[in-house]
Amino acid sequence: MKYSYYPGCTLKSKATALDKYARASAAALGIELEEIDEWQCCGGVYPLGSDEIATKLASVRNLAAARDRGQELVTLCSACHHVLKRVNDDMRNVDDIRTRANNYMQLETPYAGETKVLHFLEVLRDVIGFDELKKKVVNPLTGKRIGAYYGCLLLRPGKLMAFDDPENPTIMEDFIRAIGAEPVVYPYRNECCGGYISLKEKERSKYLCLDITGSAKGWGAQMLITACPLCLYNINKAAGDVLPVYYFTELLAEALGVKEAADNE
């Protein structure tokens, strides 16, 4: 199985762990992630204004690149996934945005949302299947009690992201079960960590992160997993002493027995 792969900026610098463990795990699972050429930053946040075109163009280039390769596009970072999926939806369904973006970009073949955008977790669930994944686990993380931290961007808006039930998601819990650990469900798993507010208002972000980690710990979690570098950063900074937080790919690599090899690469 070959996929186009969009890592995004942060995965090339501060969040290399998210990236390298995903690649190693994918290889172990028989998935080829082919990084698209000359990918550009997605912009980090989805521009909500319906008249914003410029801020959507970079995403369109990435999406069109995958289309030209005839592949589905896999993402890892929650934010990139959110932005790409929503811009893709705009290109598919909003005539005005599609026309203006294409007029501006003058691509060889105009882009109309043909690419299917997938989060790596969706590949695990829908392509490989958690039952299959379970069979491939060599180091089950037995006894570990893990809280899934979804944050906002993976789930919302629920209808558009079509990722999971935005109020009662199960994909990460199923993932945790597949790698042999025990999921801890806690109500703050889909509440915000503060996002970009932490640049200027660390206290606010801390307040929110303490709610999240406090609840997860109270419900018995020993650690959190996330798919978002910013969530990880915010929680680590504000409440890292309450609960450790890891990228889900790190635990996946560990369970599949490829973590060390990835570290040594």
């Binding site: 900026c9 501060k14 319906s50 906002c152 919302r156 109020e167 915000c192 640049l199 606010r204 570098p229």
Partner: protein, 129 residues
């Protein structure tokens, strides 16, 4: 059309939100993670736009406190999506005055060794034109 009406029209257009659909239940404000920091609350944004009272919105501190977490967008029972209104008001504010809430000069002191690019990129996207 006077300036305020025009702005209101613009904000409705940019956001794609129809404030008339609001039934004033307050569910948006109920779980807003930045509620305490906001001078104009999410549910009030809807009323202000409905009343074509836009000036206070473009001057509101709330613009810089919305986290774009989409909780209000997801949970609104009427499909009004206040978060989109806040973002539209923010864009109008930025377009009127240029970058405001964040300047590059501030970055070095806000930065630490773990700060992910994502944070800087997102913040610039949201806080500056």
């Amino acid at each position: 059309m006077n300036k305020s009406d025009l702005l209101a029209e613009q904000i409705r257009e940019i956001s794609g939100v129809n404030p008339k659909k609001c039934m004033k239940c307050g569910k948006c404000s109920a779980t807003c993670p930045s509620f305490d920091k906001m001078d104009i609350k999410p549910h009030q944004f809807v009323s202000y736009v409905d009343n074509d009272d836009i000036e206070p919105l473009t001057k509101s501190k709330s613009l810089w406190h919305c986290l774009s977490c989409f909780a209000c967008v997801e949970r609104c029972p009427r499909g009004v999506k206040p978060g989109k209104l806040i973002d539209a008001a923010r864009q109008i504010a930025e377009r009127q005055r240029g970058g405001d809430y964040l300047t590059p000069d501030e970055i070095p002191e806000l930065f630490d060794e773990d700060t992910p690019q994502q944070l800087i990129v997102s913040a610039f996207r949201r806080y500056r034109k």
